[in-house]
């Protein structure tokens, strides 16, 4: 048995279409079988509601008198991209306010507009013969704009890796707060309710597919940026009219010490054309694999700590390194369900018809990493190979002498096998002079928890360590903790200065 999209749309118009949300499908298939499900159900609605940083909107403000060709544009102090014609701008959700930092950004501008609040537009221009005006400041509401078209380059990730943290300090990431020592797991995505999970072959989701977008009827533009269905990470570029949107499905957010983002509610209605579509909409959370990655490793490819499923993540706990660790979601499953049920109601009431893509999306491609013509320099390129060392049983006076002779501020302390066991700085020695009675040996004053780097560490990572721990040098160690060099803030400063000058 097969169904055509026309047949389904006729049922929608006649008011006898049978629509279910994707989370109901496994049960329906279980009860009726695949054939029975195809006979019984016409449309499966999906939904997701989560942080989607790659979002924004094109706004057209209309012309002022005298007219201005806006070159730089701010909305409530959040800069929008003005390099498009005279009175158009693109506001991106992650752009931060110039006065309020990450507590207010492009996402908040969009939420304010959708909520009906006034937003201050400020723009400047150098002035031309046809556009003489040089600046403008005015307050606008959404209704005052000619167009406010949300265009999100990358939304609706098919699934998303979960995050944990192996380091001994709390990390603040776009995946939320990650506690030290695998203290928690954070994940995102609606799992089996997620649109692309229900049509991984992209048979019914493609350019031109009508969708639910933040409470408005939107459309799939085409494949999202970084679309990588070949690795299970398909994405969509979507668009919709902000004037039809509701704050119920569009919310600004701030990830602590990371920045601003927008929570987007997005749903797709999937027509059950044949058994193949029944099977793909029968997907369960147990079927969707998710890697838990270690965000403590500051690289593009973060190591997988464990492979789990959405079912395990949603249970609230997973076992990690022999311990039970709490999991929690950044995206809202409750709101995702609300998206799917709202879309179901639209269809049941005949307000929303389906159509097949005017152009299919690639369902096998894999996103590429960035090609880098100048690889990021590593520690070994600028470290000093001259290492001034001492052992812990030598006297502080010897240490002072070595510091003076070496014209340096740092002495590494080595054990008999040449391994790093501590560090002594000129500051430690000055302190020992002031605070008498702490003993006269290096081991009495040295710092034992030495922050260190390796030859292959990228310089920005090493620089971050210097900044975070407020220190001025890092011993460079090999695998056996033997010191092979020193990286100082001075060396780093010189290099960074050269880079900024370019």
């Amino acid at each position: 048995m097969e169904k055509s999209i026309e047949e389904i749309n006729r049922k929608i118009r006649e008011g006898n279409v049978r629509v279910v949300t994707a989370d109901e499908m496994p049960r329906i298939i279980g009860e009726l079988g695949e054939e029975g499900a195809l006979e019984e159900v016409d449309v499966v609605t999906t939904g997701t509601f989560g942080a989607m940083c790659s979002s924004g909107a094109f706004l057209n403000f209309g012309h002022a008198d005298p007219p201005i060709r806006m070159e730089r544009v701010w909305l409530n102090d959040v800069e929008a991209y003005g390099g498009i014609a005279a009175v158009d701008a693109y506001i991106g959700v992650t752009q931060q306010s110039e006065t309020r930092g990450d507590e207010y950004g492009g996402a908040h501008v969009m939420e304010d507009l959708v909520s009906g609040a006034g937003v201050e537009l400020h723009a400047i221009s150098r002035g031309t013969d046809c556009y003489p005006r040089r600046s403008i400041t005015t307050e606008l509401k959404l209704e005052d704009l000619n167009q406010a078209v949300m265009v999100n380059p990358r939304n609706s990730y098919q699934r998303y890796n979960a995050a944990t943290n192996s380091t001994d300090r709390t990390l603040f990431t776009y995946m939320g707060t990650l506690l030290p020592n695998y203290g928690n797991v954070s994940f995102s995505g609606a799992g089996s309710l997620s649109p692309l999970q229900n049509d991984p072959k992209l048979r019914t989701i493609g350019s031109g597919t009508p969708i639910f977008l933040c409470g408005a009827r939107g459309i799939v533009v085409g494949e999202g940026t970084q679309h990588s269905p070949g690795t299970g990470f398909g994405t969509l570029m979507v668009s919709g009219d902000m004037k039809q949107m509701s704050r119920d499905f569009l919310r600004a957010a701030t990830m602590q010490h990371y920045g601003v983002t927008l929570y987007v509610g997005l749903g797709v209605a999937i027509p059950l054309l044949d058994l193949d579509m029944v099977r793909s909409t029968g997907v369960r959370d147990e079927d969707i694999g998710v890697d838990i990655l270690d965000y403590g490793v500051p690289r593009r490819s973060r190591p997988t700590v464990k492979k789990v499923t959405y079912a395990e993540l949603k249970s609230g706990r997973v076992e990690l390194m022999g311990e039970e660790v709490k999991t929690s979601s950044l995206s809202s499953y409750r709101f995702a369900r609300r998206v799917a049920t709202t879309l179901r109601e639209w269809i049941e009431r005949g307000k929303f018809e389906l159509s097949l893509p005017t152009q299919r999306l690639n369902s096998t491609k894999v996103a590429m990493p960035m090609k880098e013509t100048e690889p990021m320099p590593t520690v070994k390129e600028i470290m000093s190979r001259m290492v001034h060392a001492i052992t812990e049983d030598e006297s502080i006076k010897t240490a002072a002498r070595k510091l003076l002779r070496g014209d340096t501020n740092h002495l590494v302390v080595l054990d008999h096998a040449g391994r790093l066991v501590g560090i002594v700085t000129t500051y430690d020695i000055s302190k020992s002079v002031v605070q008498e009675g702490r003993g006269g040996l290096v081991k009495d004053i040295m710092t034992r928890q030495v922050i260190r780097t390796t030859m292959d560490e990228h310089l920005d990572i090493a620089a971050q360590k210097l900044e975070r721990y407020n220190i001025s040098a890092l011993p460079v160690v090999d695998r056996d903790s033997r010191v092979v060099g020193m990286l100082t803030a001075i060396d780093l400063g010189k290099l960074l200065e050269r880079r900024w000058k370019r």
């Binding site: 989560g50 919310r251 999991t327 979601s329 950044l330 809202s332």
Partner: protein, 128 residues
């Protein structure tokens, strides 16, 4: 019941809590303490029936004390029930109910403030 003590060490640094435990035999749980050289702020949990007596004793020893009834407060207009607060809370204050709505067990809250900054929607705050 949770009590928040604030005191200054200028008065000689008397071990207030230890002494009260010793004198009354009431078991006091220290849930959070923030003490530096000059002042201290300590969150304690005491049995409800002894709370009034403990409060009086603390005051008589020169420290300030107030009862924390509320714990963390949620702004329903901002919360989207994502659950980001759940895994970072050291006291399991938050949990997901069967309808995937985040629920709070306020009595467990020790006002550590971790969830306030972790909430992407700024929906959590300290009321007192």
């Amino acid at each position: 019941m949770k009590l928040l003590l604030t005191y200054s060490k200028r008065k000689g640094g008397e071990p207030i809590i230890a002494r009260i435990v010793k004198e009354t035999g009431v078991l006091i749980t220290v849930e959070r303490a923030n003490i530096d050289t000059l002042a201290g702020e300590v969150l304690i949990d005491v049995p409800d029936e002894s709370a009034r007596m403990i409060c009086d004793l603390i005051k008589s020893r020169g420290a300030e004390v107030r009862i924390l009834e509320q714990g963390i407060v949620r702004d329903e207009n901002e919360c989207v029930d994502c659950g980001a607060c759940i895994s970072i809370c050291p006291k399991d204050v938050f949990y997901m109910d069967h309808e995937w709505k985040v629920q709070l067990r306020k009595g467990r809250c020790i006002l550590c403030g971790r969830c306030i900054v972790a909430c992407p929607h700024r929906a959590l705050s300290q009321s007192q």
